[in-house]
């Protein structure tokens, strides 16, 4: 779903909005990467780039919340936190301290389909960078005390992001409603109850099963000599023993046969909100790219059909938004609208359905197709500026699709989408019976200011 869980929320996100395009003379995207696999199965991708004195690493493990079992929701992400609690040669939190206090940046993040750890540092810290990642892949230190500490931190992350925010629970409820297969039928952050149940034994077993070199992809990008760096990577990582391949997750999802619907009473919200989802297709498929184009037309930016209709013309919503979710398994097309006072959820739903019908009946305009393609190109170019974003993307495409080169070919795949494709996927996936609707209603305050009562 939309929510990912991270080690911490970055304080400032540099406003890297290098964007855009109409590409008459557009430069072709080409990141020249090299790939090799160590004897223990660790896949290594490198990009040598001397344009800035920076090195960035991404270690992407092929494990996410989809690998969790019942009763342990939230575990993949809780485990991610444990990767910062020390290993044989690194103390608790020392990884964070060393990276940040040497001018670097770092974090870890978990979603349904993968868990990724990354750091960028000035380029004279290559040995440090490799040591930090290799030590925890080899020898995670697991203690009850640290697990309890991070369980608390993660539960606060959940409260901060979901339980203490308006609409916070709506997304989680929607995800549980959309999917039938347990793999995606729960949130990444997990339930409080399941987080409480996680034990040090669970941590040890998860580490052995999923944090093996043969279940990971390492990408190193930046200012280094490839030959020297590969030798160092082999020296640091190759002796970490391979493990049996982790169990494959069953991702089959039965067809949905009728609309699913829920209403959430939300004490923290002040305006009703409508959240729709249409269960669709896996990422990096022709239909997925067509749905991305469809989504840009329907709800991307102020020129989008829903913004113009709901916010500007009919003035029934104060804000709209949504996206085609990219997943290894079946992703969904999400649409959200926050209501203006006085409007009803029926008003808003009906306009959205009318616009969806239009997408089924009429081809989109030339400029709308152009917009979607240009947005994609802009996003890809945006990701080329920093070593860190290239490292993360290359490792992610390797884990997701076994194809790091998708960074270079993705634009072609979006460019191949036609207006007919958009109409076809609208008819194929945006069916009423394939829809999951969650309505959030502000709940009258239980404790009006005049009579604060204990309960």
């Amino acid at each position: 779903m939309r929510r990912v869980s991270k080690l911490f929320a970055p304080l400032f996100i540099f406003a890297l909005t290098i964007l855009s395009t109409q590409a008459q003379t557009a430069r072709k995207v080409n990141v020249d990467y090299k790939e090799t696999t160590l004897k223990n199965g660790l896949r290594v991708i490198t990009v040598e780039d001397h344009s800035a004195p920076v090195i960035a690493i991404s270690v992407n493990y092929n494990v996410g919340s989809r690998d969790e079992r019942k009763g342990r929701t939230g575990f993949a992400h809780l485990f991610e936190h444990m990767m910062f609690q020390g290993s044989e040669n690194i103390g608790k939190s020392e990884q964070m301290v060393l990276v940040l206090n040497n001018g670097g940046t770092m974090n870890g993040t978990t979603n349904e389909d993968r868990t990724v750890y990354f750091e960028a540092l000035p380029s004279n810290q290559l040995d440090l960078l490799l040591f930090l990642e290799a030590d925890r892949m080899r020898s995670l230190a697991i203690t009850k005390e640290n697990l309890d500490n991070q369980r608390n931190a993660v539960q606060e992350e959940r409260r901060r992001g979901l339980d203490n925010q308006p609409y916070g629970k709506s997304g989680e409820i929607q995800q549980e409603l959309i999917y039938d297969n347990f793999a995606y039928k729960h949130s990444v952050i997990g339930s409080m109850e399941d987080l409480n149940a996680a034990s040090v034994e669970d941590v040890a077993e998860f580490f052995k099963t999923y944090y093996a070199p043969n279940n990971a992809v390492l990408a190193l990008v930046g200012d280094f000599d490839t030959k020297e760096a590969l030798a160092k990577i082999a020296k640091s990582f190759e002796s970490i023993p391979r493990q049996p391949d982790p169990p494959k997750v069953d991702m089959t999802e039965p067809d949905q046969t009728k609309e699913r619907r829920a209403t959430v009473d939300d004490m923290l919200a002040r305006a009703p909100r409508v959240d729709l989802a249409y269960k669709a297709v896996a990422g990096n498929t022709p239909d997925f790219y067509a749905l991305q184009v469809l989504s840009a037309t329907l709800q991307g930016g102020q020129s989008s059909r829903l913004y113009q209709k709901l916010v500007k013309e009919k003035e029934v919503a104060t804000n709209i938004g949504g996206f085609m979710d990219e997943k290894r398994g079946l992703g969904a097309l999400y649409v959200s609208a926050t209501l203006r006072p006085g409007a009803t959820t029926d008003d808003v739903e009906n306009v959205i359905y009318e616009e969806i019908e239009r997408l089924k009946k009429e081809p989109i305009a030339d400029w709308e197709l152009q917009k979607a393609k240009n947005n994609t190109r802009r996003g890809i170019i945006n990701g080329l500026q920093s070593s860190l974003s290239r490292a993360i993307t290359l490792s992610q495409y390797a884990v997701y699709y076994n194809d790091p080169g998708l960074l270079n070919t993705r634009l072609d795949k979006v460019s191949a989408v036609t207006k007919e494709d958009v109409q076809r996927v609208a008819n194929k996936y945006l069916r009423d019976t394939n829809r999951t609707v969650v309505i959030t209603m502000p709940k009258a305050k239980a404790r009006p200011t005049a009579s604060a009562s204990g309960q």
Binding site: I18, S20, A52, G91, L98, N101, G104, A153
Partner: protein, 505 residues
């Protein structure tokens, strides 16, 4: 809730670690000088000191911005960035929320928002479609207590001409169509309501009020009265008076040379008429009243959002570098004291940070966190402990050197963030900082001593004027806060709640 193990801290595992290198700048990679000191563990972190840290801090040469000026007074700054075929252009109008009249706060912000809702050449929809179809972005805005308004356009360099054309149009020819103004007002009034559901918004609102009183710095959202009375004429008047080339800086970063760029800028902005711009008087931040504790009751809350802070400094204050380091040590990220203590040691929170800011009037220095309701007391205790500790104890040489390395080392990474480099240049211009300000920044960071930190902490962590704001379940948090002084309780709409109306749980 489980009992938190409050163990005595593990003692420092000593080792010769290169966390600590004396920092000197100039010359290529600088060799650490002096013996490396012992690594230090602290609350929440155990430093084993076995990882191979390079003691040198890379010397980084920042790219130089190029400058030009049009005859109509428009200043142009360009930072060339040939790495990717993109550009970002930011028009900085040197009038913002601080230019608003006291009875019409928000007008600068409304003007900036509405320039893209229609011009003499394009409708709101035309602008949106033309920008979006290029995959470009166009944003504009001004904060309620900002000295500037900004209009920012980004795109691929091959679209520079078209994007400049639209950007110049919204900057120079907005006509604020009455229908668009009315729609904007409806959205803005609804937004005022929606944002009150965010606990962080409520905390920020009360904290700013506590620090700034009647000063415009108090405002975090425009007054509803301003929105209600807004007309096209008000917007046109503000625009005409302030959106002038002699009152603006055009800052650009991208894959373009000054030679290629200037004819495009001439074309888009060359005949923009200059005019006398009314001077903005910036009121000084008010003298601080005594410490207050403000509790905002938000029924249904499962966390308490805490903000504790004081009045800080202006951007040009001589105390800037001492405060920069003091803040870095106190709460400037996950390696700082607040995070390591409240999260990594106590498990009270997902994160705890401090930050400071200052413009042409004094900003604030705030520590903040979100903690589950039943550890509000413990969190308050640790916040007070860390604030007092920075005042009372001298920061160790190791901790200070680590903070310096963090800041100076990060210059290498900033080379991959051209837009933040551009913002640095803009900051230097806006505050009339010396031309070599950013080149000598590392030396100024390196010059700060432990005694400077202590004296800065004693001056600015002024406990007699500390403002404390808590947003959460008042029935549970009030008694906890009462230990620190008289608690004033408000509801989420900002209205006071009489003490008898909150029953303790």
């Amino acid at each position: 809730m489980k009992a938190l193990t409050m163990k005595k801290k593990k003692m420092a595992l000593a080792a010769n670690v290169a966390l600590i290198a004396s920092i000197a700048f100039g010359g290529s990679p600088v060799q650490a000088q002096g013996g490396a000191t012992q690594a230090q563990s602290s609350k929440g972190a155990v430093i084993k000191g076995k990882a191979p840290v390079n003691k040198n801090v890379l010397k980084v040469k920042l790219p130089k911005a190029k400058e030009a000026k049009l005859p109509n007074g428009l200043s142009v700054i360009l930072l060339e960035n040939p790495k990717v075929p993109t550009f970002t252009a930011q028009m900085v109008i040197l009038s913002g929320g601080l230019t608003d009249k006291p009875d019409f706060r928000g007008l600068a912000s409304f003007t900036a928002s509405l320039i893209r809702e229609g011009t003499t050449k394009r409708s709101s929809k035309d602008i949106a479609e033309q920008i979006d179809s290029m995959g470009a972005t166009l944003t504009s805005g001004s904060g309620l207590s900002n000295t500037t308004s900004t209009v920012t356009a980004s795109g691929l360099v091959e679209n520079l001409d078209q994007t400049f054309d639209i950007m110049a149009d919204v900057i120079r020819n907005p006509n604020f169509p009455a229908a668009e103004v009315e729609k904007f007002k409806t959205r803005a009034l609804a937004q005022l309501q929606v944002q009150r559901s965010s606990p962080q918004f409520l905390a920020q609102e009360q904290f700013s009020r506590a620090i700034y009183g009647d000063h415009p710095g108090a405002l975090v959202a425009p007054p509803a009265e301003s929105i209600k009375k807004l007309t096209s004429k008000d917007l046109a008047d503000f625009h005409s008076a302030n959106y002038r080339p002699n009152n603006a800086i055009l800052a650009i970063v991208g894959d373009v040379t000054l030679k290629e760029l200037m004819p495009k800028i001439e074309k888009a902005f060359g005949d923009w008429q200059k005019a006398d711009v009314p001077e903005t008087t910036i009121p000084a931040a008010p003298a601080q009243a005594g410490s207050r504790i403000l509790l905002i009751d938000r029924p249904g809350s499962v966390q308490t959002v805490l903000q504790l802070g004081t009045l800080g400094i202006e951007r040009t204050s001589p105390d800037y570098f001492s405060l920069l380091l003091a803040d870095k040590i106190l709460g400037g990220g996950p390696a700082a004291r607040l995070f390591l203590n409240l999260r990594e040691d106590k498990g009270y929170t997902y994160g705890a940070y401090s930050n400071f800011g200052g413009t042409k009037f004094r900003g604030t220095w705030v520590s903040s966190s979100e903690v589950r309701t039943d550890v509000t007391e413990g969190a308050m205790k640790e916040f007070m402990f860390e604030l007092k500790r920075l005042r009372d104890e001298t920061v160790s040489a190791e901790e200070l050197e680590s903070a310096k390395r963090a800041i100076i080392g990060s210059f290498a990474l900033s080379l991959e963030q051209p837009q933040s480099l551009l913002q640095n240049v803009v900051t230097q211009k806006l505050y009339d900082l010396p031309a070599d300000y950013w080149d000598t920044y590392p030396q100024k960071v390196a010059a700060v001593t432990s005694n400077d930190i202590k004296s800065i902490a004693q001056r600015y962590i002024d406990l007699d004027h500390l403002q404390v704001v808590a947003v959460g379940d008042a029935s549970k948090a009030r008694d906890v806060l009462t230990k620190y002084g008289k608690v004033e309780v408000y509801d989420a709409d900002g209205k006071p709640i009489p003490p008898g109306d909150i029953k303790n749980k």
